[in-house]
């Protein structure tokens, strides 16, 4: 009843091309954003923000980045963790070298640096495809984390080898460092994610996004009708790495506070890939849904035994968690190989014709 688009006539091209052409969708997104900005900081406690919501935002950003590359441009990458590391280390170097630099600007520059690195590691994609490419991007993963470990310049010669975000303020409010409150960090992360997600949505609707999809669907045909594979693929790598770089910067500055290269290891790459695939390839909304799922499930699994009053040894529980997580992923892939985004679409269709079945 509520979800009807009957009577909503488009009278201009602008209205027809709007991101959310249906009024209800528009209101829903506005309401969600308002809720996230105005209500969540007051109702969520420190634990929820730090352990669930901020990681969710960080990983949403990374998942959007990977989704642009894998879901839209069709280039399989297992190097997400490394590009996030580039973002994190670049932020750290920028912030410590230029203490007056605004943190947000530092994030964005770090993203650009990550984009440059992604560009370089995207070059093999011009020659190789599919799983060969995936394995080739693993080179980025191992090489970059080795470099960040071996060259002391990257961690400012600190004896422990960790990078720690110094405290910085924006408009007089502490946003990074140990004294920044979780609420402030949450709001900064939320703003970045909201703005960049909007940008991503617009990129994929436009000329660049369409050329990516053409390359994804059949690269030879796309080349024949005039898309340049080199420009398109490298642009995909650069933009995707930009998002991953910003995600890495957020991970360091707004979530962890201090990190080593282990925080960006191959498991992170796999996690982000899971988010993209379980959420739905080629869908910005799917990136959020996948990120929510993959960050929430481990939290749930860790707390589940206490909820149900089952006592077990911590290491057994850890192993069971891994096992259930793996099984769950296979199960979801079997039930809905196109991810949560597809489920959402089906739900919308059903809502439209409700109460009739067809």
């Amino acid at each position: 009843m509520l979800y009807r688009e009957a009577g909503q006539f488009k009278t201009s091209y602008a209205a027809d091309q709007a991101i959310f052409p249906i009024v209800q969708d528009r209101w829903f997104v506005f309401a969600l954003l308002l809720f996230a900005f105005l209500v969540v900081p007051f109702i969520a406690d420190e634990y929820w923000l730090q352990a669930v919501i901020i990681p969710f935002l960080v990983f949403s950003m990374a998942a959007i980045g990977l989704n642009l590359l894998t879901g839209y441009a069709g280039q399989l990458s297992l190097g997400t963790g490394a590009f996030m590391a580039v973002g994190a280390y670049a932020t750290y170097k920028l912030i410590t070298a230029f203490p007056d630099l605004n943190v947000i600007v530092a994030f964005l520059i770090a993203g650009v640096i990550a984009a440059g690195v992604g560009f370089v590691f995207g070059v093999p994609s011009l020659r190789i495809k599919g799983f060969y490419l995936a394995v080739a991007t693993l080179a980025a993963q191992f090489f970059l984390s080795w470099i960040f470990n071996k060259v002391p310049w990257f961690y400012n010669y600190s004896p422990s080898g960790t990078i720690t975000m110094p405290p910085r303020t924006i408009f007089g409010v502490m946003v990074t460092g140990p004294e920044a409150t979780a609420e402030v960090r949450y709001l900064v992360a939320l703003t970045l994610v909201a703005v960049l997600a909007l940008a991503a949505k617009n990129i994929v609707r436009g000329r660049i996004g369409r050329s990516w999809m053409a390359i994804r669907d059949m690269d030879i045909a796309a080349e024949i009708i005039g898309f340049r594979p080199m420009h398109t693929k490298l642009a995909a790598f650069a933009v995707s790495s930009f998002y991953c770089g910003v995600a890495g910067a957020m991970m360091l500055a707004l979530w962890l506070g201090s990190a080593e290269t282990e925080a960006f290891d191959i498991n992170v790459s796999f996690q982000v890939l899971f988010m993209v695939i379980i959420g739905g390839l080629g869908s910005i909304l799917g990136s959020f849904l996948g990120a929510a799922f993959i960050t929430l499930v481990p939290v749930f699994l860790t707390n589940a035994p206490q909820l149900f009053g089952i006592a077990m040894a911590t290491d057994t529980q850890k192993h069971l968690e891994v096992m259930i997580f793996g099984g769950l992923i296979v199960y979801i892939l079997i039930v809905e190989p196109h991810g949560f985004a597809r489920l959402w679409q089906i739900a919308k269709e059903k809502l439209r014709i409700w109460p009739f079945p067809h």
């Binding site: 894998t70 399989l76 093999p124 020659r127 190789i128 495809k129 599919g130 799983f131 060969y132 394995v135 080739a136 693993l138 080179a139 191992f142 090489f143 080795w146 470990n149 071996k150 059949m218 030879i220 045909a221 024949i224 191959i266 796999f270 890939l273 899971f274 695939i277 390839l281 290491d315 057994t316 192993h319 069971l320 968690e321 891994v322 096992m323 259930i324 997580f325 793996g326 099984g327 769950l328 992923i329 296979v330 892939l333 079997i334 190989p337």
Partner: protein, 311 residues
Amino acid sequence: MELLNAVFIAPFVDMWEFPAFFVEVVITGLLTGVMYSLVALGFVLIFKASGVFNFAQGAMVLFAALTLVGLIEKGVPIWLALILTMVVMIALAFAVERLMLRPLVNQDHIILFMATIGLTFFLEGFGETLWGSNVKRLDIGIPNASFEIHGVLLHQFDLFAAATGAVLVAGLAIFFHKTPVGRALRAVADDHQAAMSVGISLKTIWIIVWSVAGIVAMVAGIMWGAKSGVQFSLSLIALKALPVLILGGFTSVPGAIVGGLIIGVGEKVAEIYWGPLVGGAIENWFAYMLALAFLLFRPQGLFGERIIERV
């Protein structure tokens, strides 16, 4: 100038002046390469017959080794434990085919790939829940004495591993080329639809390749486990096998062997002669870089089938 010397001249001078040491390094590399090949073989078998990039191969190695060690610790004699582990791996193949591959038939490759990563997590968790996560010693009674031939130090264990690898590869070659099942496997690898149309059952074939891959994983697990203890890091050698795969080509059994040997030697030589220049530990990424550089010239790998694309 000094840098150029250190990179381009000094290592070769070293090799020339101490040939015995160089040969030793190469042989160590070759033997490590055999171990990589053993893992890579499992990947190739499954990829050839079902087009699935089975990331869980490393977890299967770990799982098989854990099962074997667990059984031996329970007091089961080694030969019986070997047979039981084999039975477990075949049962695993049945379960994977029934519960994972069949519902996912005809899905994108990437979906199947993700499913095998899910399987990886599952097997790692399952194996460690069953048998615990402590490092276990696997003693299968191979003496590890070392001896010298012309000043080159060799380990008996490594030779044994190489021999096992050779036997395994020969066995697989015979299996693939001489038996009816092997012929059916090759037919499926060539063309799924054509194979089905002449009455080859895909399901059976999948169960067979996953079983064979499971047994190969068991052999690899025994070798690695006897060398470095059975522990969680065993599942990480899958990552080492990946560059071997792209170097040799995903679809070629000889490619897996030659690729493994090249990577093994390249890695060891680079680590010993060039590693110290950049602070060592280059073993982690050198294989990938080597494979990557190689791919730029031959995108289908050393022995992979030529990639022909049509619109």
